[in-house]
Amino acid sequence: MSSESSYYVPASSRLPIFMALSLLLFVYGAGYTINDLGKEDSYSHWILISSFLMMWGTMFFWFSEVIKENDSGMYSDQLNTSFVHGMSWFIFSEVMFFFAFFLALGYVRIFAVPWLGGEGEKGITNILWPGFEASWPLMETPDNERFPGAHHNMSIPHISKIHTWLPFWNTLCLVTSSGTIALAEAALKKDNRKAFKLWMVVTLTLGYIFVVLQSVEYYEAYAHMGLTLGAGIYGTTFFLMTGFHGFHVCLGAIILTIMTIRGFRGAFSEHDHFGLAAGSWYWHFVDVVWILLVLVVYVF
């Protein structure tokens, strides 16, 4: 069929309004839950939980509908191109979200902390906390009573001890998994479903190992290193950057888990597997963010 005359425009849909309602619930739920933190008799987290249930439910039905429509042949090539554009720009928006945090880390390391320590053009700032010395990772904060610095940091150890350093194994897992998902996609394109399934399972395993190792690292940080969210700007940037990355790895892992399940149930064909392709782009994106993150958070 000619692609121009058959662009599928759904007549009307109840899905978006349910999504909008669940986001409205989410805002009140999240807002009250966070404002009520530490209060015993608060019920607001139930609003939050129900908003999540509603959101996931709506997403389930939304994606089912899209899959159903696609399977019944309603989607033209042009519409699939729209999905490709949509996913690419969505990933670009995610890149810019991380950019904000990289910008923050750069500003803090290049300007704010040295100035507080009396170096550079605005070193006059040192009069706020005389005697504060700038260093990175920042182990002693200007007001160490209020923001007690960490005892240990996560920076890269000497090369001989690299095997004891969790981020090394994390990097290995994530970079490898980026390769294995490419292999899975390539196998699917050749209609080698056995290899496709195998590589998907390998990818997922590596992804879950990453999540587990990252949790171990957070546990170590809180339990043995004094490295917390409240440990000044080093802890702040460390947790927020690795945390948001970890959150995106979890999202990617959920997407890929669903794609794997669908793959095992016989979904996708050599030419029609946009859900998997989009998931794999997302996975490559979290991989690239991780590499940049290792460089600026752990190594340099």
């Binding site: 599928y8 909008a20 986001l23 720009w89 670009f92 927020l240």
Partner: protein, 535 residues
């Protein structure tokens, strides 16, 4: 396959659904465009009412009507609503209505996402407005929400503010993804990029800016949330962070944001001026390149909002020069508009009046912007009413006038009826006089040192402030005339022709379809590779 095509035809041939659920479930770009425009219109009166409270308080020196705390809430929410609730949704509404018609597409590329982008917007503003009823009152830290005012010293409702900004951002990002995908993927055959109408071009670039900077805003409010509730120290020097970091992150978003609010206006004004000059636009490709250069430059000028905050001198110089560079592409656009009008057969219908006022008054706003860009001079102007005058000149007779002009220009195409020209011209002249009465004297009190965001002022500013307030009330009332004119057009207007304007011949695909435009405009894309008759 035939069954599929039949069901697809069913979708296309039915008209709008009956009843209120039509608006809840719709996936039609025209319905969603109307929703955006009505939402923005309602918010204009909500945000406008807040401006009236501000001007009533400032009518005379001394504490008059509201408490300083409530005054702060008014200033904050007036800004937030006008930026995120009026100007941006209005432009997205126009994009929804016009882009598919101008590029010959059947609808937006992702119709269900389109519905979602709209409906989360009332949710976000519902949350924001509901904070007025909560303990501690609504956000009161200014629309720029600088830390630590918005973190350590913020009311507890800041949490709701943060999440509602997240939702507004999500709405903008999804809307922009849809617009950019529509433009890149849904153009009629033969419509190459450099043949696209300028409104489409301006939105392509605007959508790119939105996708690039809205996530940065989300990052900024997330850092605030963490600082307030989870003990981090992004914006707290005691932990090694820096309150100035907030301003850098915010303005990295904020400066592209102000161009997001003006670039679509450039597209609209180009169309209106060429139509009522009965000439094609002068310098089409230079218009495209000018918009693109303005957009790219907007990423490297942000710190001109923070000259007085304590930046290294190299930074001040860099941001001063890069800011001044923007005057060049902007000047190109202004001179192109003037050249289009030069020796044209001009007529002055309401849209054209607003468009000419836009060119004149936006240029005033641009020139005061150039004054503010001079770092040493900015030390004098910073945080005075001169700044307020500057950005209101680019946003009210700039962005808002362009939206009003667009509504008058395309309303006959949307509704099938003509608006009342006498009422339209009355609306224009009242708006034109009152907008200058409101914002021009602000330059004088600003240069004389009147600070912004303060509910009281020194005696010597009293006369000018009274003039400003009278102008503001008049401007507010004139907009009721606009509402009346739109409603009169919808219910009692005379029928409009397909071409609507004499000068619209050959000025775009939207004038080749009936007025009102059919519910589904181009079921089959027009083939522009063949010579156009444009009947």
């Amino acid at each position: 396959m035939s069954a599929v095509i039949e069901s697809h035809h069913d979708d296309h041939h039915h008209g709008p659904a009956k009843g209120f659920s039509r608006w809840l479930y719709t996936t039609n770009h025209k319905d969603i465009g109307s929703l955006y425009l009505w939402f923005s219109f309602i918010m204009l009166f909500v945000g406008g009412a807040m401006a009236m409270v501000i001007r009533a308080e400032l009518f005379e020196p001394g504490s008059q009507i509201v408490s300083p705390e409530f005054y702060n809430q008014m200033v904050t929410n007036h800004g937030l609503i006008m930026v995120f609730g009026v100007i941006m949704p209005a432009f997205v509404g126009l994009a929804n209505w016009m882009i598919p018609m101008q590029i010959g597409a059947p609808d937006m590329a992702l119709p269900r996402l389109n519905n979602l982008s709209f409906w989360i917007l009332p949710a976000a503003f519902g949350v924001l407005l509901s904070t007025f009823l909560m303990e501690g009152g609504a956000p009161n830290f200014g629309w720029t929400f600088y830390a630590p005012l918005s973190t350590e010293y913020a009311p507890p409702t800041v949490t709701f503010f943060i999440f509602s900004v997240h939702i507004m951002g999500a709405s903008s990002i999804m809307g922009s993804i849809n617009i950019i995908t529509t433009i890149l993927n849904m153009r009629a055959p033969g419509m190459t990029l450099m043949k696209m109408p300028l409104f489409v071009w301006s939105w392509l670039i605007t959508a790119y800016l939105l996708i690039a900077v809205m996530p940065v805003l989300a990052g900024a409010v997330t850092m605030m949330l963490m600082d307030i509730h989870f003990g981090t120290s992004f914006f707290n020097a005691a932990g090694g962070g820096d309150p100035v970091l907030f301003q850098h992150v915010f303005w990295f978003f904020g400066h592209p944001e102000v161009y997001i609010m003006i670039l679509p206006a450039f597209g609209i004004i180009s169309h209106i001026i060429e139509t009522f000059s009965r000439k094609p636009i002068f310098g089409y490709s230079s218009m495209v390149y000018a918009i693109a250069s303005i957009a790219l430059l907007s990423f490297v000028v942000w710190a001109h909002h923070m000259f007085t905050v304590g930046m290294p001198i190299a930074g001040e110089l860099f941001f001063m020069y890069s800011t001044m560079l923007i005057a060049i592409p902007t000047g190109v656009k202004v001179f192109n508009w003037l050249s289009t009008m030069f020796r044209g057969s001009l007529t002055f219908e309401t849209p054209m009046l607003f468009a000419i006022a836009f060119v004149a008054l936006f240029t005033i706003g641009g020139l005061s912007g150039l004054m503010l860009a001079i770092a040493p001079a900015d030390f004098q102007y910073h945080d005075t009413y001169f700044v307020v005058a500057h950005f209101h000149y680019v946003l009210v007779p700039g962005a808002l006038f362009s939206i009003v002009a667009a509504v008058y220009y395309w309303l006959p195409k949307w509704t099938g009826y003509m608006y009342d020209e006498v009422l339209g011209k009355t609306h224009f002249w009242l708006s034109f006089i009152s907008v200058n009465l409101t914002f021009f004297p602000m330059h004088f009190v600003g240069l004389a040192g009147m600070p912004r965001r303060i509910p009281d002022y020194a005696m010597q500013f009293a006369d000018y402030n009274m003039i400003v307030s009278v102008g503001a009330f008049l401007f507010g009332l004139s907009q009721l005339l606009f509402l009346f004119n739109v409603l009169k057009c919808v219910y009692y207007g005379k029928s409009a022709t397909a071409e609507v304007w004499e000068g619209a011949k050959g000025k775009g695909l939207e004038w080749t379809v009936d007025s009102p435009a059919p519910y589904h405009t181009f079921e089959t894309s027009p083939d522009l590779t063949k010579p156009q008759t444009n009947s």
